[in-house]
């Protein structure tokens, strides 16, 4: 060690990256468990301080809001399925370090294409053909919306974050515009076209969505983990230069991966519009395109973990709604609770990767 370095003052606290092997699985589980318990405690104290309600009752109401009746369970499953579907869509791009924050727009534009198909072709062809056309059109529109920023990124290295973000606004305004054109009575609400929806199986409106998303989850998992293309995505994500060196066509991978992303967004749009809503509004996607980013990150881009993280987000969301109904407190309180819990979870991931070192005795240091 050089003299200058040894003289440099070690800060009282500093942060060191952990050796990945230094933590066993039960350590990790313990840290996460403690984080969640701590988050619940902090929220409990906050709820009592701000509203004077009993936090146990508030948590009871959250659980009731999610599992209280079979309808609520179905709603929760549908919520998880739709959020998971969008999260799966952004994951391949994220793994490639292509920051696609345009899932919102990609889903919305495919929903718009789907609704337009239902409106204009609904009475002109048999149902099976209509459903096929809806599927194709939705997936294609999602792909086109994803392809544009991908091509610009691949050939001219434009900033994909800005590009995909802006495409969201274009999609939202297109939906707003076409709603003005489609809806004649001025309400801005397009009446649901229930007769043209995807088939309902088992008498449960959401079952088809749930099964399809479960299938997509498995497919995306296998695609990312075991296929050659999945491997190429990882390599491009780690280092574009390495990828080029070993002969991967980076442009091709970027465009292909975004097409996959867009196609899954297209399926999400199809399921949302053709499968459940049978109509569209500018808020049909409801921010899932952005929440999906968090779901995907929290799960470290692993589709199987994403089932858990999306379930957590939906649990918090539905539970919070119930709390605001039961106690007639502003929905902002529920947002605060959700925010705190997520902050703790993200925070504990930080402590799993890094450790805080407190400066030891000077003498020892020397």
């Amino acid at each position: 060690m050089s003299k200058t370095e040894s003289k440099k003052r070690t800060p009282f606290v500093h942060i060191v990256k952990r050796d990945p092997a230094s933590l066993t699985w039960y350590h990790k589980l313990l840290v996460r468990g403690v984080a969640i318990v701590a988050a619940l405690l902090v929220c409990g104290v906050l709820i009592t301080l701000l509203t004077g309600k009993n936090p146990i009752e508030v948590y009871g109401s959250m659980i009731d809001g999610v599992f209280g009746s079979s309808r609520r369970v179905w709603n929760m499953l549908q919520g998880v399925a739709m959020l998971l579907c969008v999260s799966l869509a952004v994951t391949p791009a994220f793994k490639m370090k292509f920051w696609n924050i345009g899932a919102e727009g990609q889903v919305l534009i495919s929903g718009l294409a789907c609704v337009a198909t239902m409106m204009f072709l609904g009475d002109k062809m048999p149902l099976w053909l209509l459903l096929t056309v809806m599927t194709v059109v939705s997936i294609l529109s999602g792909m086109i919306w994803a392809l544009l920023p991908a091509v610009f990124k691949a050939y001219w290295n434009t900033n994909e974050t800005l590009f995909t973000l802006m495409m969201n606004y274009v999609a939202t305004q297109l939906v707003a515009y076409f709603l003005k054109v489609f809806v004649k009575d001025g309400s801005g609400v397009l009446s649901p076209m229930d007769q043209y929806g995807l088939p309902v199986i088992g008498g449960q409106a959401y079952l088809l969505n749930i099964i399809l998303v479960a299938l997509i989850t498995v497919v995306v998992y296998i695609y990312l983990k075991y296929s050659k293309q999945g491997y190429e995505i990882s390599v491009v994500g780690e280092s574009e230069n390495t990828a080029r060196y070993i002969g991967i066509n980076v442009k091709k991978v970027i465009i292909r991966t975004m097409l996959v992303s867009g196609a899954i967004c297209g399926i999400a749009g199809l399921l949302l519009v053709g499968g459940t809503n049978h109509t569209i509004s500018t808020t049909t996607v409801g921010g899932r395109g952005f929440t999906a980013i968090m779901v995907s990150w929290l799960a470290k881009f692993n589709p199987l973990y994403m089932i858990l993280t999306s379930a957590l987000v939906i649990f918090l969301e539905k539970g919070a709604q119930q709390v605001s109904t039961d106690f007639r407190i502003s929905s902002s309180i529920s947002d605060i609770v959700t925010g705190i819990i997520l902050l703790f979870i993200i925070g504990c991931e930080f402590f799993l990767q890094y450790r805080v070192v407190i400066r030891k005795n000077r003498k020892e240091n020397a």
């Binding site: 801005g188 049909t284 109904t325």
Partner: protein, 402 residues
């Protein structure tokens, strides 16, 4: 030291503000000529009765607050216990509305009410699925078309409230003419509207006719904003109208944009949906609004007595559904309260009709048609939601893109 100074300054400012508030506290508001009446509860509520409410936003929206206040008033008057009502807020105009309604059914609600126009399709869907539960929807129009027995629409004859507010506006114009501030020909009002729907057209037409009933030379310019709530656009529209020499402004939109612009320019303002008196003491004249409490009382009574709920219910002055704030006597012309009271009596006994075709023309011709019976355009008869959408003479629409 700096910190202490800053704190002291802050404290001083707080006191300063409080002092200002105190000084302006001399209330120039009259008693309301048309106040909200006390609810009459002449029925027994069953122990297992339960009502559910679905609201588009929460109290932060003036539109929803008007419903929530009315719901609370009814709950208090009827004496419902906390497990006899459920209020769901922030329910979007989509599938979520159906899910909310179905969830309320699961929780044992006998009757469910939704407050936003866009909720209608989803309430209808729930009504068809749960025929044993009553579904009521404010501002919708599909009940009489769909013929679903347990689905009902409701509105109020707010055009009567607007008409009364228009009288106050007309009298103010007369005062300006008398004082020589304007000539009779310069008596032009401005109106900030949201969209070119019947609800808005019916509103500004009745306001205009109210003014015209006392000030025959009045004309009016209307500017649309294309949004129910856009403070900046509404302010811009009001300022544009003032720049076009409108000497009095009214609005049908929910923000403080237009009243605020009026206060800044010292142009009198007739408000809607809640009093803007506190923020605009120098320009506020009077405000009208719909009181939903009588309707809530009515539907709760129907369910508990087994009576049938009207497919289309339109509450008027007699039902207590249309109410006015007090009149700001610092701004309003002399005799405004009396004139409004006289008109209320006239509306009650039928001698005054807002849409009397003798009082207006369209392109110079008298109005005829299916809705016109004995010379009166019968607003809110065939459905509770307004459908008067004629472009009557004397009113100029500055834009129509919405």
């Amino acid at each position: 030291m700096k910190k202490i100074l800053a704190l002291l300054l802050a404290a001083l400012m707080v006191f300063g503000l409080a002092a200002c508030g105190g000084a302006e506290d001399k209330n120039t508001m009259s008693e309301s000529p048309l106040p909200a009446t006390e609810l009459v509860v002449d029925y027994e509520v069953k122990d297992d009765f339960k009502i559910g409410f679905i609201c588009l936003h929460d109290e932060k929206s003036t539109y929803d607050k008007n419903f929530l206040d009315a719901a609370d008033e009814m709950i208090k008057a009827v004496g419902l216990t906390t497990d006899q009502y459920i209020i769901k807020i922030n329910i979007p105009e989509g599938k979520e509305c159906y899910e909310a309604a179905a969830d309320l059914v699961d929780q044992g609600c006998d009757i469910i009410f939704a407050n936003s126009f866009g909720h209608e399709d989803f309430m209808l869907q729930a009504a068809k699925e749960f025929p044993e539960v009553q579904f009521c929807h404010a501002t919708g129009y599909k009940a009489h078309l769909e013929n679903v027995a347990n689905y009902h629409n409701a509105f109020a004859s707010i055009y009567e409230g607007r008409y009364l507010a228009g009288i106050a506006a007309g009298l103010k114009l007369n005062e300006m003419i008398k004082d020589g501030k304007i000539t009779a020909e310069q008596a032009k009002m401005g109106y900030v509207g949201a969209f070119t729907y019947a609800e808005v057209i019916s509103g500004y037409s009745s306001f205009y006719l109210g003014a015209k009933s006392v000030c025959p030379t009045v004309t009016m310019d209307v500017q649309f904003t294309g949004s129910w709530y856009d403070a900046i656009e509404e302010q811009n529209a009001a300022e544009a109208l003032i720049a076009r020499d409108c000497v009095l402004i009214s609005q049908h939109a929910d923000s403080m944009g237009a009243p605020g612009a009026c206060e800044a320019a010292k142009v009198p303002n007739v408000s809607y949906n809640g009093a803007t008196y506190e923020s605009c003491p120098e320009t506020f004249i009077v405000s009208s609004r719909i009181n939903w409490a009588p309707y809530f009382n009515y539907i709760v009574k129907c369910v508990n007595t087994g009576a049938k709920i009207d497919t289309d219910w339109c509450g008027g002055i007699a039902e207590g559904s249309v109410v006015l704030t007090g009149v700001n006597e610092a701004v309003a012309a002399e005799g405004t309260v009396e004139a409004i009271k006289n008109a209320i009596a006239g509306l009650k006994d039928g001698t005054v009709k807002v849409f009397n075709t003798a009082n207006f023309t369209v392109e110079g011709k008298a109005v005829t048609g299916d809705a016109v019976v004995n010379g009166i355009f019968e607003e809110s008869k065939s459905q509770s939601a307004p459908y008067f959408d004629l472009r009557i003479d004397g009113i100029t629409l500055l834009n129509e893109k919405f």
